[in-house]
C-alpha cells in the first residue's frame, strides 16, 4: 500500500472535525474526497501531512509510520496544494524552486535547478519561468503551485479543491495534468472536490465524508444516487454519456 490511514481523528478545542477515518491507496490511485462544506475534507488533507496535528490515528507511507518522520522527511513524501495561495512578489522559477526546500541543506544544487526545469517543462511553464506569480492568471498560477508540489518529488500529492476558482477550460487542463502526472510519476493523489462530474471522470477511488465520518470508501460503484442523496440531500440520476458517467440533479 502506498498510503494507509488508520483511525484518524481530529478536533478543535470546542469542535470535533474528523472521527476514525480509515482508507488506503495503491500507487497510481486517484482518490476524490467528497462531502458538503464543513464535512472535514480540507482538515483531512491537512492531517495527512501534519499541517494539522491529528489527536488520534496513524498515517503510513509505504508501511512507514509518518509520526516517525521529521517534517522535512515527511515533505519529501507528501506534497500539498492548498486551496488558497498567498502571492508574494516572486518569479515562477523561484516559486517552483521552493518545492526543493525539503532537500536543500545550505544552498541549492545543480540537481535542484534541473528538477525545477523539468517540472516547468512538464507543466508547460518554461515560457513563464521569469514572470512574477502575481501577474499570472488563475489557471497559470494553479499550474505553478502544482509544479512547486511536484518539485518535492512526492509519493502522495494532496490537492485541496484545485479547480474551484478556474474556468471550465482550466479545470479540464489542470485535471488532465494531474491524471498524466499520476501515470508518469507513479504517485497517488488525494483531491478534495465539490464537482461530482469531474470527480467521476478523473478518479478511481472515492471517500464520502459526512460530518467528519467516513460514510463510504471505495471505487466508482459507491458513488450512486442513494449515497449522493445521503451526503448532499439532493436527488440525482447518474447517466452514461459516451462512456463518461454524468451526475444530473433532479
Amino acid at each position: 500500500m502506498a498510503l494507509t490511514v488508520e483511525n484518524l481523528s481530529f478536533a478543535y478545542p470546542n469542535k470535533d472535525i474528523l472521527h476514525n477515518i480509515n482508507f488506503s491507496l495503491e500507487e497510481g490511485d486517484c482518490l476524490m474526497v467528497l462531502g458538503t462544506n464543513g464535512a472535514g475534507k480540507s482538515t483531512l488533507l491537512k492531517c495527512l501531512n501534519r499541517v494539522l496535528q491529528a489527536q488520534k490515528g496513524t498515517v503510513y507511507i509505504d508501511g512507514v509510520d509518518t509520526r516517525k518522520l521529521s517534517g522535512t522527511e515527511l515533505a519529501r513524501n507528501i506534497a500539498y496544494v492548498p486551496q488558497n495561495h498567498y502571492i508574494s512578489k516572486t518569479t515562477v522559477f523561484d516559486t517552483v524552486l521552493l518545492g526543493r526546500k525539503p532537500y536543500i541543506k545550505w544552498d541549492i544544487t545543480e540537481k535542484d535547478i534541473k528538477i525545477v526545469e523539468e517540472t516547468l517543462q512538464l507543466l508547460n511553464l518554461q515560457a513563464y519561468s521569469m514572470r512574477y506569480t502575481h501577474e499570472l492568471s488563475g489557471g497559470e498560477l494553479q499550474r505553478v503551485i502544482i509544479a512547486r508540489a511536484l518539485a518535492q518529488e512526492p509519493k502522495v500529492l494532496l490537492m485541496d479543491e484545485p479547480t474551484s476558482n478556474l474556468d471550465l477550460r482550466n479545470q479540464i487542463d489542470v485535471l488532465n495534468i494531474i491524471e498524466e502526472i499520476i501515470k508518469t510519476k507513479k504517485i497517488s493523489a488525494i483531491v478534495a472536490m465539490h464537482d461530482l462530474n469531474l470527480a467521476l471522470r478523473y478518479a478511481n477511488k472515492f471517500l464520502l465524508l459526512k460530518k467528519g465520518i467516513s460514510y463510504r470508501f471505495g471505487d466508482t460503484s459507491i458513488l450512486n444516487p442513494k449515497s449522493i442523496k445521503n451526503i448532499y440531500n439532493v436527488d440525482v440520476a447518474i447517466e452514461d454519456y459516451s462512456g463518461i458517467p454524468v451526475v444530473i440533479p433532479m
Binding site: R50, G71, I78, H85, S88, T91, D94, T95, L98, S129
Partner: protein, 349 residues
C-alpha cells in the same frame, strides 16, 4: 536550457545590486571618516585608521570617528535585519522594532535601569556626558522589556481573530504604554539632571558606544545575521502562507518565535547602547525589497547593507549639517524616514 539561463541572469542582477550597495557603503564610510570639526587630511585619516598617523589624527580617528562609524554600521545592520525578519514573520510590511513598540519597551527598560536601579550616573546634561556605569544591567533590563513586548505581540498575533493590521495597532498601543511608563519614571525621578540626561539618552546617538559595547553589538548582530541567513529558506517558505510552509517541512511556530526573539534582542542591545533610532527597521527592508525582491537569500544581506548605508549616511549628515554642532541621529533618521515612509504608503495604494 532557457529557464536556467534566465534564472542565472536574474540571480546575477541581485548579486550586482548587493555589490553596488557594498561599494556605496564603502564610499559613505570614507566620507564619514573624513567628515568632522577637526580638519584632518584624508591621507592622515587613512594612516590614523591603521594607527600610523600623527598622535592627534590617530586619537581622533580611532577614539572618536571610528567607534561612531562602526556603531552606525552595526546598528544599521541590526535594526534593518530585525525589521526585515519581523515583516516576514508577521507577514506585515509595517512591522519593525519601532512600530511594534519594541524600541520603546527597550528604552523603558533602560530608563528603569538607569533611574530606578542606578545603573547610570551623569557628569552633566550635555550629550555624550551620560555615564553608564553598568552597561550589562541596562542591556539586561532593555532585553527583558523588549522581550516582554515581543511576547505580547506574538501572543496577540496567534489569536485567530487578530488580523495583521490589529498587530500593528497593538504595537502602537504598547509603544504608547511604554512611553507613558518612561514618562512616569522620569516625572518621579528626584534628580532632574539625571532626567535631562536620560531624555538626551533616548534621542539616539552613535557616539555613545565605547569599544566594549561595540564588541557586544558586533557579537549579537553577527550571530543574529548568521541565524537569519541559516533560516532564509524557511522565511521564503513562510511567505507562501503557514500551511504551505508546514507542508514543506518548516516548523513555522518555532521559526517565528526564534525570529522574533532574535530580532528583539538585536533591538534591545542597540537601543540600550545607542538610544532609540527610529525608522531604520521599517524603511531599509522596504526600500531593499523594492530594489532586490522578496527572496530572503538576497533580501537579508542586502537589507543589512542598506541599513548600514542609510544609518551611516544619516549620522554623517547629522555631523556636518550644522558643524561643529552634531544633531542626534535618531532625529535625522526620522526626518529622512517619515517622508520616505509616506512615499511608500502612497505608492503602495
Amino acid at each position: 536550457m532557457e529557464a536556467k539561463k534566465g534564472y542565472r541572469q536574474h540571480i546575477n542582477k541581485k548579486k550586482l545590486i548587493i555589490l553596488l550597495l557594498i561599494l556605496a557603503t564603502i564610499f559613505v564610510f570614507f566620507w564619514a571618516i573624513n567628515a568632522g570639526a577637526s580638519k584632518i587630511k584624508p591621507k592622515d585619516v587613512i594612516l590614523g585608521i591603521l594607527g600610523l598617523g600623527n598622535p592627534k589624527a590617530n586619537s581622533i580617528v580611532r577614539n572618536i570617528r571610528l567607534p561612531r562609524i562602526i556603531s552606525g554600521i552595526l546598528a544599521g545592520i541590526g535594526l534593518s535585519i530585525a525589521g526585515c525578519i519581523m515583516q516576514n514573520n508577521l507577514t506585515n510590511p509595517l512591522a519593525s522594532p519601532s512600530t511594534l513598540g519594541i524600541s520603546n519597551a527597550a528604552a523603558f527598560g533602560a530608563n528603569v535601569a538607569i533611574i530606578l536601579l542606578g545603573a547610570g550616573s551623569v557628569a552633566s546634561t550635555s550629550i555624550g556626558e551620560v555615564q553608564i556605569n553598568n552597561p550589562y544591567i541596562v542591556t539586561l533590563c532593555a532585553i527583558c522589556f523588549s522581550l516582554l513586548s515581543t511576547l505580547l505581540i506574538i501572543g496577540l498575533s496567534r489569536l485567530r481573530y487578530f488580523s495583521t493590521q490589529s498587530i500593528i495597532l497593538a504595537g502602537v498601543a504598547l509603544s504608547s504604554l511604554f512611553s507613558a511608563g518612561t514618562m512616569i519614571i522620569q516625572y518621579f525621578a528626584s534628580d532632574t539632571t539625571k532626567v535631562a540626561a536620560v531624555v538626551f539618552w533616548t534621542f539616539g546617538d552613535l557616539a555613545r558606544a565605547s569599544w566594549r559595547e561595540i564588541g557586544i553589538m558586533a557579537v549579537v548582530v553577527s550571530v543574529s545575521l548568521g541565524y537569519f541567513l541559516y533560516r532564509r529558506w524557511d522565511y521564503n517558505a513562510m511567505d507562501s502562507g503557514d500551511d504551505t510552509a508546514k507542508s514543506l517541512g518548516v516548523e513555522v511556530e518555532k521559526i517565528r518565535l526564534g525570529g522574533m526573539f532574535t530580532a528583539s534582542i538585536i533591538t534591545a542591545v542597540t537601543v540600550s547602547f545607542l538610544g532609540t533610532i527610529g525608522f531604520i527597521g521599517l524603511i531599509c527592508p522596504q526600500m531593499t525589497k523594492k530594489i532586490i525582491g522578496n527572496d530572503k537569500r538576497y533580501l537579508i544581506p542586502a537589507s543589512a547593507i542598506m541599513g548600514a548605508l542609510i544609518l551611516l549616511a544619516s549620522d554623517t549628515v547629522a555631523r556636518v549639517i550644522i558643524s561643529p554642532q552634531v544633531l542626534p541621529v535618531g532625529a535625522v533618521t526620522s526626518f529622512l524616514g517619515a517622508p520616505l515612509f509616506l512615499y511608500f504608503l502612497i505608492k503602495e495604494v
